[in-house]
């Protein structure tokens, strides 16, 4: 039997969803600046992205210069941006907002976990991974989701955190022999596991990424994406992966804090896209954050907790090169007028994150009725693919 036929949980049309969570509330107005809105420059005299510095997207919006590595994906039509994105709760607590967003509302357990349980009730050992020390809430309740910081941990005889024990030479062979004598699901599970181990061991950690891509190996975010790419290319049956990039809580001297983060984000994603090449057609990366930041800058060259931010959808056949920046899909940016701002002066949320995720999940095999994934919510999916 070809090992591929029993390890892959998601068939020939293997699709992988990668969720990148920007923890700490990333400032959507710096990531994707409404350059053409004069009020933006008025609210942000010191922090606004300057027209001349920005990566122009469509004559109105521009990416921060440190996101320049994303420009090729935008120009190739593989990157869509959603502005005014966020959740319906006006909690400005990181903890509560992250949990609500990862759970898909006041539900228990993660929306990604519920998606996985819907599309793949009999997972293999590598159906879902989190490149993190512990399992993020978004994967809470997923069948057999594995959290690790390095692929090296996924092998026989590791002790966690990549430490290896001395595995006797014949141990693996003898163990396999005993499982081969079984006649039930345990034998197949063992075959799948040995197969997954073999596929991971076959990954040469020093192999050059594909298509001349270059990851910054000192950067944990980049390193995480590189390992996700390695799993995808090794055909381990990966349905979903979670990678975090934290540190966006920029109350104080925002520029020095978020500019390096934006470089890491863009360079990591660009390397990932280049590395995967044609396989980006079946790989979707969603970038999200728990909420955005106050429109007006504060006295400490920073910004405080707000509401709407930006989301990115990269690859996976998204009809990109488009920004959903208006109150209606395709509509114009509403403008940062004081009377339209929410609460203490925040960009409102007019694109609920579920309406961004729903079309992506459909693309990845979710059933038409998504009530089990996003309970108690009236979905209005954004037309990301048409």
């Amino acid at each position: 039997m070809n090992p591929q036929t029993h390890i892959s949980g998601n068939g020939d049309d293997k699709r992988t969803l990668v969720v990148v969570f920007l923890r700490g509330a990333a400032d959507g107005l710096t990531l994707v600046a409404p350059l053409g809105d004069d009020n933006y420059h008025r609210f942000r005299p010191r922090l606004a992205v300057k027209r001349e510095d920005a990566v122009k997207l469509d004559g109105f919006f521009g990416l921060h210069a440190n996101l320049r590595a994303l420009e090729p994906a935008w120009k190739d039509g593989e990157l869509s941006i959603v502005h005014g994105a966020g959740g319906e709760s006006d909690t400005r607590s990181h903890f509560e907002a992250q949990e609500l967003m990862e759970h898909g509302g006041p539900a228990s357990g993660g929306w990604l976990a519920r998606f996985l349980r819907t599309v793949n009730p009999t997972p293999n050992p590598l159906s879902a991974v989190a490149l993190s020390p512990t399992l993020p809430e978004v994967l809470s309740g997923a069948p057999a989701a594995a959290a690790f910081e390095s692929l090296a941990e996924f092998s026989l005889g590791t002790l966690g955190r990549g430490r290896a024990s001395r595995l006797p030479a014949n141990f693996s062979r003898e163990l396999r022999r005993l499982y081969e004598l079984e006649t039930d699901g345990l034998r197949d599970a063992a075959r799948n596991t040995f197969d997954a181990i073999a596929r991971i061991e076959a990954i040469d950690p020093n192999a050059q990424p594909g298509n001349g891509a270059s990851y910054d190996e000192r950067d944990s975010f980049s390193h995480g994406l590189r390992q996700v790419a390695q799993l995808i290319k090794a055909d381990v049956g990966l349905d979903a992966a979670s990678v975090d990039l934290g540190g966006w809580d920029s109350h104080f001297v925002q520029k020095t804090q978020v500019e390096p983060l934006m470089l890491r984000l863009a360079n990591g994603l660009a390397a990932f896209r280049q590395d995967l090449g044609a396989r980006m057609a079946t790989t979707t990366v969603v970038v999200m954050t728990e909420f955005g930041r106050r429109v007006a800058e504060n006295s400490a060259f920073g910004t405080d907790h707000g509401r709407g931010s930006a989301m990115f959808v990269l690859g996976g056949g998204v009809k990109g090169g488009r920004i959903f920046g208006g109150l209606q899909p395709g509509g114009p940016w509403p403008g940062l007028k004081s009377e339209m701002l929410e609460g203490p002066g925040d960009l409102p949320v007019w694109n609920n994150y579920r309406n961004v995720l729903a079309p992506v999940l459909t693309r990845h095999g979710a059933p038409a009725d998504m009530a089990r994934i996003f309970p108690d919510y009236d979905l209005k999916p954004l037309p990301l693919y048409s």
């Binding site: 357990g109 997972p123 809470s140 026989l156 024990s165 014949n170 141990f171 005993l178 599970a189 596991t193």
Partner: protein, 503 residues
């Protein structure tokens, strides 16, 4: 003995560094008196007689041990052989008569947490409460002699699952564990259900506290009413309708708790600490009209008495007996349990009016139970505990151990949805690699805070074959003995082997 407060212990166990010097000294003194400092578990003395199982197949003694407990310890087989299987079952059904001083010692450092009133929990660091609950649960599973009781606590914790990550459940789940699950685990199902319905944690977790009818237009919150029938009693196809869900919700309107803040549903009483999380009935939020539940009339004007009528109606329903019986059979017999066994167990449940001991007694007496040797896949928690018990390990149940449970997705009290951790094998088969790595780590003493006396154990049991039989509950097969020798690490191999994944 000088006692420190519960909070100091929780702080210490959570690894808090900001302890005052005074607290630190008193905590250390207390722990030293207990002969227990962090990182060292309680050691279980090996019994005098360690005669291992001698039959080639799992015999009734080994079978009873592997199903009624979280796995046999060395010496258990000899004990139960002397006692007889029937007497062992009866002994396990009367846990209050079993001395459990070893387990008490293993969990002593956390004892204050359970002995303080619920309101006091309010001041605890909520991020520390659930980890302590997890550790104590693991320690009890490993060290308690009241094994069937602990197995049933796990069963009901899944059946009435509450995720302590939700809202005020952070503070109230430990109380639910003590006052609902443990208090009634081998008691009466009707009383268990009633306690659960009025548990502060359950009232929060399934929104019962928000189930109110204050104005004619207000719609009751159906969440708890639905799960009460779908998950706790009748089962999803148990014959209730949407109308029944709405009627049960109406019956339960008005029950709420004093929460941490007043959000219109829970009322906060900041002055009286003893009232924090206390459950009370709001007459003005109760729909006191007549209702009809599962074909039975509930007259208007019963007020809080509606709850008792609902408990009586759902518990007495034939579907509930079938549903509980089937779940018990899945736990103790097989994932696909024969209907004949389910019927026998359901009949005992009904005639005993929810008597859990009588129900279990009937289950263990079925021929289907006797015939089901070695077919159940242990869930990860069961697997880890059984390996610790079989090797007579001592453990402090701290992070290095629980991280294996986390990896396998089976940390106690971490399942988010009210259906509890899945019972059937399919959900758990993808965890093999982490089981194998746990086996290697345990056998080679690579888990900080957990240790085994491998040489001593082997010497006391006397032979490789004897140790293998102790682990397997039967004599090893030729290929197992062969693999034991050739693998280079027989103990790890056997714990990782397919036979040890089953019970």
């Amino acid at each position: 003995m000088k006692k420190s407060t519960r909070r100091e212990f929780i702080a210490a166990s959570a690894g808090a560094v900001a302890l005052s010097a005074a607290i630190f000294r008193s905590t250390q003194g207390w722990l030293a008196q207990m002969g227990q400092v962090a990182g060292i578990g309680v050691e279980r003395p090996l019994g005098r007689v360690l005669t291992p199982p001698h039959a080639e197949k799992i015999d009734p003694v080994s079978h009873a041990l592997s199903r009624l407990t979280f796995g046999a310890s060395p010496g258990d087989y000899a004990c139960v052989t002397t006692l007889g299987v029937q007497a062992f079952i009866e002994e396990q059904l009367a846990p209050e008569k079993i001395d459990d001083s070893l387990c008490d010692r293993a969990t002593a450092r956390f004892a204050d947490m359970w002995n303080e009133p619920l309101g006091e929990q309010y001041d605890a660091d909520p991020e520390a409460l659930a980890p302590v609950l997890r550790r104590v649960t693991l320690l009890r599973a490993v060290y308690s002699e009241r094994q069937l009781f602990e197995v049933m606590c796990e069963f009901w914790s899944d059946h009435f699952n509450i995720d302590p990550g939700k809202g005020d459940c952070r503070w109230t789940k430990p109380n639910d564990d003590a006052e609902v699950i443990r208090k009634h685990a081998l008691g009466n199902f009707h009383e268990l259900l009633r306690a659960s319905a009025l548990s502060p944690a359950m009232l929060w977790y399934l929104d019962g506290r928000a189930n109110v009818k204050r104005t004619p237009d207000e719609k009751p919150n159906e969440n708890y009413a639905r799960e009460l029938m779908e998950l706790h009693t009748l089962g999803v196809h148990g014959g209730y309708s949407q109308q029944d869900v709405m009627e049960v919700a109406r019956c339960l309107t008005g029950w709420t708790i004093h929460g941490r803040r007043d959000d219109g549903f829970s009322k906060k009483l900041p002055t009286l600490k003893s009232d924090h999380f206390a459950v009370f009935f709001r007459t003005e939020a109760h729909d006191d009209g007549a209702k009809r539940v599962l074909g039975q009339e509930i007259p208007a004007g019963l007020g809080k008495g509606d709850l008792d009528r609902v408990i009586e109606i759902v518990c007495g329903h034939a579907s509930t007996a079938q549903f509980i019986a089937r779940k018990l059979c899945v736990r103790f017999i097989a994932d696909e349990s024969p209907q004949s066994a389910v019927d026998a167990v359901a009949s005992a449940f009904s005639s005993g009016r929810g008597d859990i001991k009588a129900t279990l007694r009937a289950l263990f007496a079925t021929p289907e139970f006797a015939a089901s040797t070695g077919v159940k896949l242990k869930r990860p928690f069961h697997f880890i505990v059984s390996a610790l018990r079989a090797t007579n390990a001592s453990t402090d149940a701290d992070r290095p151990l629980t991280s294996y449970l986390e990896r396998m997705g089976h940390m106690p009290f971490r399942w988010p949805t009210p259906d509890g951790y899945p019972a059937a094998a399919a959900h758990w088969r993808a965890t093999l690699l982490w089981r194998w790595n746990f086996a290697l780590a345990l056998a080679n003493d690579h888990i900080a805070g957990t240790s085994i006396q491998r040489a001593h154990l082997q010497a006391r049991i006397g032979s490789d074959v004897g140790l293998m039989a102790t682990l397997l509950g039967r004599q090893p097969r030729a290929e197992e003995s062969d693999a034991w020798l050739k693998s280079g690490d027989g103990l790890a191999l056997l714990i990782a082997s397919p036979a040890f994944q089953r019970c």
